[in-house]
């Protein structure tokens, strides 16, 4: 009964979104505001309707309504309450509905804002957001219906995939989807600006916060995904260049390029065409990423053909890409640059190079991700593209990008004096050289590692120095204490210092990545009770196996280990295998000892019946916690940059008005 209401609500939501698109199109064509107001009303009605649909699924999940195929496939009677709720995004059908609901929420918020100033943009924003929404709702209802009923009602459901029962995995999809849908808003405004022949940066300013928030969620989703892989998947790493990982990474790469590139349009009125290209690309990557994540197309070409979801996505991406590019080509002349480049030693040129690197990176990841599928289509044989290829191809590009990240903030707009640049850079250069010498002396011989550490030290020192200079200046003028000066400086220049914090976060993350990728040690061995396994000065002594029951139909086999280093006992570790009785699926959960210098990471790989012998795989991951720490700094920095600042906004408006007056007078 409730589920029938849910399906009905979904249908009405679909109708509402389609009607909104048609009304908006007609209102624009007839230049009639009444129709556009109706369109807006229709669009606003979509979110409540979809909420009803989502609530209906939640109700079915929470009441164990296994007559629904979806509920039976992602839930079971003894599943914990929280996991029953989050099973909404545990499978394809529910995920698509969830994605649509998040999209509707964002569109709802955007549509509720005051549109008096931007009446001309409204119909197009409605068309784009509602059009995207209509596609996803239609996809859900017709190809992947969570309300589909089974002919018979099973006694119990299959239960959620054990991999998804970890807290990190619970929050990971919503964060990613929020990142994906968030980018649809700037795209909608960009298309609106394009159609209405607005050639200024107005749409960029309007959507700046949306872009940053979407980017924040995407970053969080990626970070937590990596953390989850490390904590729970038990292979000692955090990123495997898996197609689904890449699917979320590519929109992030293009989104980051967009984030930087729009600053050029805001400041200097340049790169207008390129920014349009970037946002169109971001939108395409978002849909493509959602497509890969939800349909599993990359793993096998044959799954693509069988499921209806694949061709539908493909068609949608093709249609929207063609339409966007066509509109861009029609309006190309409107997007002439306002300004000129005076010197290649300028922030404009550096940002352009930054964009180049992001594009080559995105393309590299794209090639590696689709090559197996392309190879199968063309030659009939699938060729795997694994981490060694990705590492080799992307590492130099990332290195260059990080280097650029350090230098770029030192470049002034229009023209940077090389002398001044040299004066800012020579000290970090030398300090970084000193760090590298120290590393060399203490045993590091790999040229790649030394270069990488030089870069991160150089960039870290440069960024810290830029930050410190501002604080010092404030202290000098205001006589404030260090913490107060730091706080006030950051608070009054959130975009700038938020940006510096983000860059510092990236530097810390880079340190963690270099440590783990270049200096990881691992070993595997079988030991009897009382025996030890050694790795890099650490030793684990196997004390025996513990069998116990866990919540949620779990049987747990745990190994009791004692970790020592150079003879000194440090702590106990309990790596375990979790076996879900019903489905027979197992999880290998590692045990870790974490410090700032390294992680000692061990998993229970196997054991004989009596537990007399057990096989362990152990990893030593140097500097890995710098990755998570850097991620935290990164997120804090983004929040600083996003945080609304009425003061700064007022100043920005004043500056705009001033410049407009000046240009009018000069003309």
């Amino acid at each position: 009964m409730i589920s029938d209401i849910g399906l009905l609500a979904a249908w009405f939501a679909l109708i509402g979104s389609v009607v909104a698109v048609l009304l908006a199109l007609y209102g624009y064509w007839a230049s009639d505001a009444k129709w556009i107001t109706s369109a807006r009303r229709a669009a606003i009605s979509v979110w409540p309707l979809l909420t009803v649909a989502v609530l209906a699924i939640e109700y079915a999940l929470l009441t164990d309504d296994f007559s629904l195929n979806y509920v039976a496939s992602v839930s079971s009677r003894e599943q914990p309450l929280l996991l029953k709720m989050t099973a909404l995004w545990g499978g394809q059908d529910g995920s698509i509905l969830f994605w649509a609901w998040l999209m509707a929420t964002f569109a709802f918020v955007v549509l509720l804002r005051r549109w008096d100033q931007d009446r001309d943009l409204l119909p197009h924003v409605i068309v784009v957001t509602m059009g995207t929404l209509a596609f996803f709702i239609a996809l859900d209802i017709f190809a992947s219906n969570p309300f589909k009923k089974l002919d018979f009602m099973p006694v119990d459901g299959r239960g959620l995939n054990p991999l998804l029962r970890h807290p990190g995995m619970v929050i990971h999809p919503p964060l990613l989807y929020l990142g994906f849908v968030g980018f649809v808003i700037p795209y909608a405004f960009a298309m609106a600006a394009l159609v209405t022949r607005r050639s200024d940066a107005h749409w960029i300013r309007l959507t700046r916060r949306w872009t940053l928030i979407a980017w924040l969620f995407l970053s969080l989703g990626l970070l937590l995904g990596g953390r989850w892989a490390y904590d729970v998947l038990g292979w000692g790493g955090y990123w495997a260049w898996d197609p689904v990982e890449n699917a979320a990474f590519m929109p992030w790469l293009v989104g980051t390029a967009f984030l930087h590139s729009v600053q050029i349009q805001e400041k200097r009125g340049m790169l207008k065409i390129w920014n349009m290209v970037l946002i169109i690309l971001t939108y395409g990557m978002v849909i493509f990423g959602t497509f890969i994540t939800l349909s599993g197309v990359i793993d096998s070409v044959h799954a693509f053909a069988r499921s209806a979801v694949g061709p539908a996505f493909f068609g949608f991406i093709a249609v929207t890409s063609v339409a966007s590019v066509w509109m861009l080509l029609r309006r190309l002349d409107d997007l002439r640059s306002d300004n000129r480049l005076e010197s290649i030693f300028s922030r404009e040129a550096v940002f352009l190079f930054n964009n180049l690197l992001f594009m080559t990176l995105t393309f590299s990841v794209f090639v590696g991700t689709v090559f197996p599928m392309v190879s199968e289509l063309v030659t009939g044989e699938k060729r795997t593209v694994g981490p060694p290829w990705f590492d080799r191809v992307t590492a130099p590009q990332f290195g260059l990008l990080v280097l650029l990240m350090g230098i770029a903030p030192l470049f002034a707009w229009r023209k940077q004096s090389l002398q001044r640049l040299g004066r800012s850079l020579w000290l970090p250069f030398v300090i970084a050289l000193g760090a590298v010498v120290m590393l060399f002396v203490s045993g590091t011989r790999s040229a790649g590692a030394l270069l990488a550490f030089w870069i991160v030290t150089f960039v870290g020192v440069t960024t810290l120095w830029e930050y410190a200079r501002g604080v010092v200046a404030r202290r000098r003028v205001q006589g404030e204490s260090w913490p107060v000066a730091f706080w006030r400086l950051t608070g009054r220049n959130r975009r700038r210092y938020g940006g510096y914090l983000i860059h510092l976060g990236v530097v810390c993350m880079a340190i963690g990545i270099i440590g783990t990728e270049m200096f990881q040690q691992q070993t595997q061995g079988t030991v009897a009770v009382g025996e030890s396994l050694e790795l890099g000065g650490f030793e684990i002594r196997y004390n025996g196996l513990i069998n116990r029951r866990g919540a949620d139909d779990l049987a747990i086999v745990e190994a009791d280990l004692t970790l020592s280093r150079n003879g000194k006992e440090l702590r106990g570790l309990l790596p375990r295998r979790e076996i879900y009785q019903n489905s027979g699926q197992t999880m290998t959960i590692p045990a870790t000892r974490s410090t700032l210098t390294e992680d000692y990471y061990v998993i229970l790989a196997g054991w004989d019946d009596a537990g007399r012998l057990a096989t362990f795989k152990t990893y030593l991951n140097p500097l890995i916690n710098w990755l998570w720490f850097g991620g935290l700094v990164f997120v804090v920095g983004t929040m600083v940059a996003v945080w609304p600042d009425a003061e700064a906004e007022r100043r920005a408006m004043a500056r705009q008005a001033f410049t407009r007056r000046q240009v009018a007078q000069a003309a």
Binding site: E348, F353, S375, V472, V477, Q524
Partner: protein, 172 residues
Amino acid sequence: MNRHRLLWIAIVALWLALSGAVFAQNTDESVTDDDVNRVARELYCPICENTPLDVCETQACEDWRLLIREKLEAGETDGEIVEYFADIYGDRARATPTTEGFSLIVWIAPILIGVFGIVIFVRMLRRWLARGAEAGPEPTLAAPPTSGDSAPADPELGDYAARVEEELRRSA
């Protein structure tokens, strides 16, 4: 002279000691788990989806790792074992694509796009600069109220101090 001879003796002794270790390795038959994993890491499970052979937990993968162990004990090299798997299961068993045949494309493509990108980058810069040269210097506008967002043109602290003072004055 004495020091010289001493040095030679030291070198020879060292060399002998090291050779001893090498010979010791040759006579040691046992293949460790690490050896097996080293080879398995170069391979992907031929039947699972996107799973490297050293982490795959299925029975089939266990059997394949056992096969790798047997081959290592028989004296085969890492490369030979990888080729064996690739011959039977195809290139999908390799973790890294080769540089032969169709797989060459995946190595060439990033290089091509890099070159292409640099060409576009240089052309864009040239076009921007040319437009700047032919248009002459921009009409200079009166300095707008400074914002915290523009880059410092002068690394001297005085510039920062001036800007901070300006902001404080305006917001007072």
